[in-house]
Amino acid sequence: MLRWIVWRDLTLAWRRRADILSTVFFFIIVVSLFPLGIGPETQLLRSIAPGIIWVAALLASMLSLNRLFANDHQDGTLEQLLLTPQPLFLVVLGKVLAHWIVSEVPLVLVAPLVGLQFDLETETLRILLISLLVGTPVLSLIGSVGAALTLGLRGGGVLISLLVLPLYIPALIFGSGAVEASIMGTAPAPHLSLLGAFAIVSLIFSPWATAAALRISVE
């Protein structure tokens, strides 16, 4: 069942690949805006790069969240999924996994390129990649709770951001902290471990919360 959901969502997403690309472009544009707003001084940019890249990743993730359930909700598939005998936990996990592959992995892959704009070293770019690789599942997982809670509501993207951004903060702190440690020459490992721990906790708890939220939103 899990594999089927993932495959289905991936196929559907492929048919709408423009959406995926727009998320990536948003990410790139937002990151590029900061130097334009702050000034081209390399030292300064290098020091704020981790924060900027991570925040841009957060924002881009959030924009992609409504794609998670809204389309299925509109054509009635979601209700069908809720009625299957399979545990909803697995359905949610499948959808989140597909969402991660489609919306987050492109960000992870593009991030090192974007990091070059800030004159980051290769080692730092590597840590950036790892931090996003570990951190973006958290964004998808926690984001899915927000997406499920706000399904069909008028608030739209803004409401999801109000709910979800505060919950993203630990991931932001540990993720950008790891990259910053790399820039300063200290060990990024503690940050990455904490990020990993947070990711595991999210993996265990959020599908459950999302499933509950889906039931509440759909019935």
Binding site: G155, L162, L165, F174
Partner: protein
């Protein structure tokens, strides 16, 4: 139902609240001595600290009521959670603003990104999220339950957020000025803070009960109207 009981309870909390506020202010301003380091500016803590505690306490209480309301399908508990939200948010706002006003004379700036203030700011965001979510859902049952999930997720995350903010803060310690914490607490200062805390608590109970009654009325009216329309 609970409506008249709540109504009777309100004065029992409102009046002591007023008395406690007066008493707390008296002890805080007339009995507590001027602080050695911070002069008289420290007297802000008599409202800042109780407000901060209330903000946090009410959030947890709100999550508990929301969770109970969801788990046992107890509508009154869910209504209680909704009633608590605004008061909790308000205390958090008081905490933020008084914290800023305390910061300026003592540390030179209105805002410092220390662990406490930053966590309080994030708590404010959590309140705003809860209130916005409930405000945008028309169906009361869905609003109650959605709020419950959000509040529970929030309450579980609060320790994680607090820890990560502490972590973040100690990391950047070198770049920021070392902050002077609370002044050494003399007995009258602690007494004043505790009295003010009690005052805030009594005030909260009174105000939340008033709001709860409003919510009960609103839901009854909507139900009545719904019945008329669909009769």
């Amino acid at each position: 139902m609970f409506y008249p009981v709540a109504g009777k309870m309100i004065p029992w909390f409102a009046i002591p609240a007023a008395i406690l506020f007066a008493a707390g202010m008296y002890v805080g301003f007339f009995i507590a001595p001027t602080d050695f380091q911070q002069g008289d500016a420290y007297r802000i803590i008599f409202i800042h600290v109780p407000a901060a505690w209330m903000g946090m306490f009410l959030y947890v209480l709100m999550a508990i009521y929301a969770g109970v309301g969801w788990a046992f399908n107890a509508r009154l508990a869910s209504m209680m959670a909704s009633a608590l939200a605004v008061t909790g948010a308000m205390f958090t706002l008081v905490s933020l603003v008084t914290g800023a006003l305390w910061g300026k004379p003592t540390w030179g700036t209105y805002w410092v990104w220390d662990a406490r203030m930053t966590s309080t700011l994030i708590l404010m965001f959590l309140y705003i999220g809860f209130i916005s979510l409930q405000a945008s859902i028309d169906d009361t049952r869905r609003a109650d339950r959605a709020g419950a999930i959000l509040a529970l997720v929030g309450v579980i995350n609060v320790p994680i957020i607090y820890f990560s903010v502490q972590w973040w803060n100690t990391l950047h310690q070198g770049a920021t000025i070392r902050l002077i914490g609370k002044p050494t607490i003399a007995a009258p200062m602690l007494t004043a803070m505790l009295i003010m805390l009690a005052a805030c608590w009594f005030y909260s109970v009174a105000v939340v009960l008033i709001r709860l009654r409003c919510i009960i009325l609103e839901r009854e009216q909507n139900a009545a109207r719904f019945a008329e329309v669909n009769a």
